[in-house]
Amino acid sequence: MSDPDTPDLVQLSVSERLAAEALVVDVDGFEGPLDLLLNMARTQKVDLRRISILQLARQYLSFVEKAKALRIELAADYLVMAAWLAFLKSRLLLPPDPTEEGPSGEDLAAHLAFQLERLQAMRDSAARLMARDQLGRDFFARGFPEKMEQVRRVKYTATLLDLMQGYARIRTRDEFRPFVMDRDKVFTMEQALDRMRGMIGFAGQWTDIQSYLPEGWAEDPVRWRSATAATFAASLELVKEGKAELKQSGTFEPILLRRKESRDE
């Protein structure tokens, strides 16, 4: 790219190099080529609507040349913009070719001017927005909001059908065997508790709760299960009452029980 506006690379003075470097370092502060163009446009110190796009294109291209001279990597979009501006510049400088299709150089320039003006307008709007009174800084919400108390009420309901089915369920289950059979295989927690209350006084040593099962309940698996469950539940109850302690050394290990020494006694 040989442009009359671009200073000869070899003739760059130290101060020029520094200035260029400063500019380049500043690139980091720019949000893309459009932002850079907008900043360059401001140096023209005219209304954005009267900006010289041609001059702006020259400024930008000269900046890119300097950056290249300093072997500074520019992001691709800066280079794309440079290429486009070079194209635009040629369009603006050459007399329009009537055979050429597409938008004229003026159209393209006008659109770029519009983009710059729009970006500037958004910047100004952003600044005005941030300058407004803000919640939590200039005006305030209630400092002690009272929470809406959620009162949740659960209403239970059942239909007659539920009731009848429930009853039917029980009766059907019972039709094939008398009630007494049930009782036979169920060792209630109350029974277990009664039993254990009587025995706990003698349990000074850690003892497997299995040994507290009533006589004759360990053989039949159904009875064993019921008695074990009841005995375990009763043991928990005793612990809760502060009369016993339970321990288990690991999962599925025997559960050991012993009397809790009470200081009152």
């Binding site: 919400a141 009162v151 309901t157 539920d162 007494v180």
Partner: protein
């Protein structure tokens, strides 16, 4: 606290106008209002004075503000030795949102209820006997709380256990004239609610195999109609 506002000359809306002249009382009242509103905690008069421009009388401004909020939806109230704005007590109901959630009764509750309905008056031990599992306290409490069951007469047996009967609310809810209108087992079977397998004991009776329940059945029914 003085009730008469001490009007000091000063320009409205310009509280920092002068270092030496305090804002007018109306302005001071606005300030107290804003501070109390925005504070997360009650504010003492001293704090108010510290935050307001020099020469302000927070106590007096507060008195005015308090008066202004009398009878309003929020009040200026004293909390310890500090002040806060709080909802008027009579409007507390606006701060609650009640939601009613309808849930089906648990299976245990339905079964317990059914047993009470069919066998009333019935003791807890009898219910357990019929269900084959123990009845949790929570289940009975829930039914009592719903007012679907209530305590009946004590059973005249050793231990004098309490009995349970169903209530009028129960009958109303299920659209029954009386507990006697509950469909019998035969009806249940006819309705396909029971497996129609012949019972080894012949026609099933309610409360079969439960001597106590049968015994008390008539008494129970009559008791239900006493009230």
């Amino acid at each position: 606290m003085s009730d008469t506002p001490e009007i000091t000359p000063g320009e409205e809306g310009a509280p920092r106008e002068s270092l030496f002249e305090a804002p007018v009382m109306g302005e001071q009242e606005r300030m107290v209002e804003a501070i109390l509103f925005a504070s997360a905690e009650p504010v003492t008069v001293k704090e108010l004075n510290d935050r307001m421009p020099h020469g302000c009388d927070a106590a007096e401004a507060l008195a005015h503000l308090r008066k202004r909020y009398e009878g309003r939806g929020v009040h200026v109230v004293r909390v310890g030795d500090a002040w806060a704005i709080r909802t008027a007590p009579d409007l507390g109901f606006l701060m609650q949102r009640e939601t009613v959630e309808t849930r089906k009764l648990s299976r245990a509750a339905i079964e317990t209820l059914a047993i009470i309905a069919y066998h009333q008056p019935v003791t807890r031990a009898e219910i357990e006997e019929i269900r084959g599992v123990s009845v949790s306290r929570g289940t009975v409490d829930q039914l009592l709380e719903m007012e679907w069951i209530r305590f009946g007469r004590r059973r005249m047996t050793p231990g004098r256990p309490v009995t349970f009967v169903v209530t009028q609310e129960f009958l109303d809810h299920f659209g029954l004239e009386s507990a006697r209108d509950l469909p019998g087992l035969a009806d249940l079977r006819a309705a396909g609610l029971l497996e129609s397998r012949p019972s080894p004991l012949g026609a099933p009776q309610t409360g079969e195999g439960d001597v106590d329940a049968d015994e008390g059945m008539d008494e129970g029914q009559s008791e239900l109609f006493e009230d």
